[in-house]
């Protein structure tokens, strides 16, 4: 056989490979393959980047009910900051995306990627005064309004009525202090003969409520100093850590994992849902999950107080419109709907937290839901709003650096390599060193 045709065939094969690669690349970069934000069949699409809570589908259905289908909402779940930042950096702008903490709001705003919503709010008659005033740190960056929330949640005490009844422990009541809670948690923790926990009194407690109630603060007012080395913070840390370290009424991470294998699903909220922990301090959004276990007899009470300062944690998420997106009007139409009575009452009815607009939060529909007559204490969520605070933020340190330092020192504390007081001192020293470095070299701040 002659070799020339063989070479030609090989050259032709190689050419085909190259052509396929070029064609493939061309197809991949063609406009039709780009993630869609442009019109499809004359419709404007709004990509909504938010968590995958099933309530989102109810909210979208509500939008279509009230606004027709001229604007198509595409739900893009999993709104981690990393994913959104990558999308924004790649020029794939979602029309609307959720931000879950004030520190992230500051990071996005500092990077200049958020639209100032004030002109559109003015045009559409959305007033800042209508929101719960405690939500301001989530919404504002300097004078600008960079995000609007449709829900929020004060941290309250969820408790399992059946487990309390069976252990003969009186239900939590207003006026409880932390020692009352600790005593109840002791009685509600059950272990087997080996000492292995079968049930815990209370799930992991976010520390800030206790710290604030002891009169401690994370940062000074100007954010230039971490104050966790104060005597109040040390005392609060000793008490907070005792739940896991000495009293052992709160599971360690490996105990949480272990309980999951014993019939729960892992994670503090899921363990409460699986009746493996008797109390859990969290916001109202969790009842979306708790309602799924029809046997779970849960109720809520205010979180305990020390009597010194009343305080609880306030969580929320805001929706922001990236500067680069071209469908700002459509995005704001949907955002306006999220602030409307229709959606705010969906938030109230589905249990996705407290409506962000005070009037709807205090409405009869929020306080009493005929579909869930056992949920008779919704007023507790509102009462706690009076002293609810968002997490503290310093503009001089990355929240990720601060969290890394906090977790590292707390890890050593959980291993009993340092006392809670020493952990507080080291956290403050390390955070303050970075704050001083960042003030001197602002390039290192993110």
């Amino acid at each position: 056989m002659s070799r020339t045709p063989d070479l030609r065939a090989r050259a032709a094969a190689a050419g085909s490979i190259l052509a396929s690669l070029v064609l493939g690349a061309a197809l991949l970069t063609a406009p039709g393959c780009a993630p869609g934000r442009s019109s499809r069949e004359g419709k404007v699409t709004v990509r909504w980047v938010v968590d995958p809570n099933p309530v989102r589908q109810d909210q979208i259905a509500g939008f279509y009910r009230t606004h027709g289908r001229k604007i198509e909402i595409i739900l893009d779940p999993d709104a981690g900051r990393q994913k959104v930042l990558t999308q924004l950096a790649g020029g794939i702008y979602p029309e609307l995306f959720a931000i879950y903490d004030p520190a992230s709001v500051q990071v996005f705003a500092r990077k200049g990627v958020l639209t100032d919503l004030r002109p559109m709010m003015k045009k559409h008659g959305i007033r800042l005064e209508d929101f719960w005033p405690q939500l301001a740190p989530y919404m504002r960056y300097g004078d600008q309004v960079v995000g609007l929330p449709d829900n929020c949640g004060t941290f309250v005490l969820f408790y399992n009525r059946r487990l309390f009844r069976e252990a003969g422990v009186p239900y939590p009541r207003a006026g409880w202090d932390w020692n009352d809670l600790l005593e109840a948690a002791r009685r509600l923790t059950r272990r087997d003969a080996r000492g292995r926990a079968l049930q815990f009194g209370i799930g992991y407690i976010e520390p800030w409520m206790i710290f604030w109630q002891y009169g401690a603060r994370m940062y000074s007012d100007d954010g230039k100093r971490c104050l966790l080395d104060s005597p109040e913070a040390r005392k609060a840390a000793e008490f907070w850590a005792s739940f896991r370290l000495t009293e052992r009424v709160t599971p360690s991470p490996s105990e949480e994992q272990g309980l999951a294998a014993m019939g729960g699903w892992g994670g503090t909220a899921n363990l409460f849902k699986a009746e493996k922990i008797a109390m859990h301090i969290v916001g109202r959004w969790m009842i979306v999950e708790y309602r799924k276990n029809r046997k779970l007899e849960w109720d809520v009470a205010p979180i305990p107080q020390t009597g010194k300062v009343r305080a609880t944690l306030l969580a929320s998420k805001v929706y922001a419109i990236p500067k680069g997106n071209r469908n700002k009007e459509a995005a704001f139409t949907f955002l306006k709907y999220l602030m409307s009575k229709e959606n705010q009452l969906i938030v109230a009815a589905t249990g996705d937290g407290i409506p962000s607009i005070r009037a709807y939060g205090e409405s009869r529909e929020f306080l009493y839901n005929p579909d869930y007559p056992n949920e008779r204490n919704n007023r507790v969520f509102l009462e706690e709003m009076r002293w609810a605070r968002p997490p503290e933020v310093s503009p001089y340190i990355s929240e990720l650096d601060a969290t890394a330092i906090f977790n590292e020192e707390m890890d050593l504390m959980w291993q009993r390599k340092q006392t809670p007081s020493q952990a507080c001192e080291r956290i403050a020293a390390r955070i303050n060193a970075i704050i001083r470095r960042n003030i001197a070299n602002p390039n290192l701040r993110d």
């Binding site: 020339t4 930042l85 990558t86």
Partner: protein
């Protein structure tokens, strides 16, 4: 050049082109880009601004902290993670020795040896994430298999025993990851390379050693070990490079770099700085420092280790 040669060259170039194009676009270009970015403060959103050596000084330099009254490193996290990375690399000699022992065992002419070779190679073909999750459960302090066995052993001998908090304590987290790495790496590609190398050692040398009355141990040191030294050298170089570049998957899946940052490696740190904090300039500087360290150590290994290699 004849027409045929031209056509042959064209065909060769065409076949090479996809790979070369891939290398240029996805490797060389990012490497050069990262080098330039290391001198900027790019954060993906604002245009990059030239900052000269600022990132390198921030990474490797130190300053006097007046408040603390002492000299402190500009980036204390980095040095801690360098230590973690080097610590985890201490498992490399053990891994190499283990792979060699496995290869020696698998090199026996036994019935069904292929089945054993397949079993030992299984961890390499399994999903890495699945293996890591499996080990996370094995290491669970309360219900993990290891601690359950230790407790049962204690019951059996009548002394209460509790295993260590494998992944939850700063002392045990790194050794636990090293142990797991040994298990997954033992029968992997290194064993395959050694098997091939063992089968390449000339039979005549073994026969000569036997005729000289050498013991098995003497035969190993005088014949086998020099015969497979090029492979050992290759495995050592690749393991050292891999060690410096490793630790992302285990940290991301099993420990999130904890407890207390004790399992965060340089690679995981680069990922966090780049893709969580979006300090691309700074992350590029760390990546380039890592590259230079790997280059220096590889050259040193080449310079001093290469002398001991025997090519038969």
């Amino acid at each position: 050049m004849t027409r045929r040669q031209k056509a042959e060259s064209l065909a060769a170039l065409a076949f090479l082109a996809p790979n070369v194009a891939g290398f240029l676009v996805f490797t060389l270009l990012p490497v050069v880009g990262a080098f330039l970015l290391a001198f900027t403060n790019w954060d993906l959103f604002r245009p990059p601004r030239w900052v000269g050596l600022f990132n390198f000084v921030s990474l490797l330099g130190w300053h006097y902290d007046e408040y603390a009254g002492r000299t402190v490193m500009n980036d204390p996290f980095f040095w801690k993670y360098v230590y973690n990375t080097v610590y985890l690399m201490m498992a490399i000699p053990l891994g190499i020795a283990g792979s060699l022992i496995c290869a020696l065992l698998m090199n026996q002419r036994l019935r069904g040896i292929t089945v054993f070779r397949t079993i030992y190679f299984l961890p390499t073909v399994c999903s890495g994430v699945a293996i890591l999750i499996l080990w996370k459960w094995l290491y669970n302090n309360d219900i993990g298999l290891f601690n359950t066995l230790i407790r049962q052993l204690g019951d059996w001998i009548g002394v209460p025993m509790q295993g260590p908090n494998w992944l939850g304590s700063t002392e045990w987290a790194k050794p636990s990851l090293m142990l797991m790495g040994l298990w997954t790496g033992l029968g992997g590609f290194n064993m395959i390379l050694y098997l091939a190398a063992l089968q390449g050692v000339p039979r005549e040398q073994y026969e000569a050693a036997a005729m000289d009355g050498a013991s098995a141990w003497q035969t190993f040191w005088a014949v086998t070990w020099p015969g497979i030294s090029p492979t050992t050298f290759f495995i050592l170089i690749m393991s050292v490079i891999g060690g410096f570049q490793g630790g992302f998957m285990t940290a991301n899946v099993m420990t999130q770099g904890g407890p207390a940052g004790s399992t965060t490696t340089i690679e995981y740190y680069i990922y966090n700085v780049a893709f969580t904090r979006f300090l691309m300039g700074y992350a590029s500087a760390i990546a380039w420092v890592l590259f230079l360290v790997i280059l220096a150590i590889t050259l040193l290994t080449w310079r001093f280790g290469g002398r001991r290699v025997t090519y038969v």
